[in-house]
């Protein structure tokens, strides 16, 4: 629970300092926003490890192979990273860069999910007796 307060406090502090720096030196304001985001995400991402170990436990219980869960996790990671990078680009006023990052993220996520899609195709082929 303290982590929520710390994250909120850091976000508000970052916003106030960003507003103070934006007019005189916008490049430092961008750096400040980037560091605030990185610190917030780092503190939140450390809590992801128990969630992921629970997912692995579920995977072991259901008898699924690692080849099924791995593309799923990779797609989630690609989504998170491209979303935050796109937001940085939007903050800097570079909409085209943000769109390029989002588009690349979509393509990379599709590529990461390709083994799953081919497994589904294989399963359908077996079901249809082909």
């Amino acid at each position: 629970m303290e982590q929520v307060f710390a994250i909120c406090a850091l976000a508000v502090l970052g916003a106030v300092l960003h507003a103070a720096l934006r007019r005189t030196s916008p490049e430092y304001a961008m750096g400040l926003a980037a560091v605030c985001c990185a610190l917030i995400l780092l503190s939140a991402a450390r809590l992801l490890s128990p969630i992921l170990s629970f997912l692995k436990e579920l995977q072991a219980l259901s008898g699924l192979s690692g080849a099924v869960l791995s593309p799923l996790l990779k797609t989630v990671a690609i989504g998170l990273l491209t979303q935050i990078s796109g937001a940085f680009c939007l903050d800097a006023g570079e909409q085209s860069l943000a769109k390029a990052v989002e588009l690349s993220g979509t393509l990379l996520a599709a590529y990461a999910a390709l083994p799953l899609a081919s497994q589904v195709l294989e399963l359908m082929r077996k079901l249809m007796g082909g």
Binding site: L13, L17, S25, L32, V35, A45, R46, L73, L81
Partner: protein, 64 residues
């Protein structure tokens, strides 16, 4: 959480903007530009370290 980093970057920004103003008013535009660039490099070093730490953590957690 390393809140001191946020204050450090804000302090660098304020100091560099003051230095920039002083140097520009005294007619040393080149030095003002170099000061701004040096401050930016310092800030970028901090930002890049944190972002690389975040990317490494995501990479480890999501089994890349």
């Amino acid at each position: 959480m390393e809140i001191d980093l946020v204050f450090k970057i804000a302090a660098v920004g304020i100091i560099v903007s003051i230095l920039n103003q002083v140097l520009v008013r005294s007619g040393r535009e080149e030095q003002a530009t170099m000061t701004t660039l040096a401050g930016l490099v310092v800030v970028l070093m901090i930002v890049v370290q944190r972002i690389s730490e975040l990317f490494t953590l995501v990479k480890t957690l999501f089994q890349f």
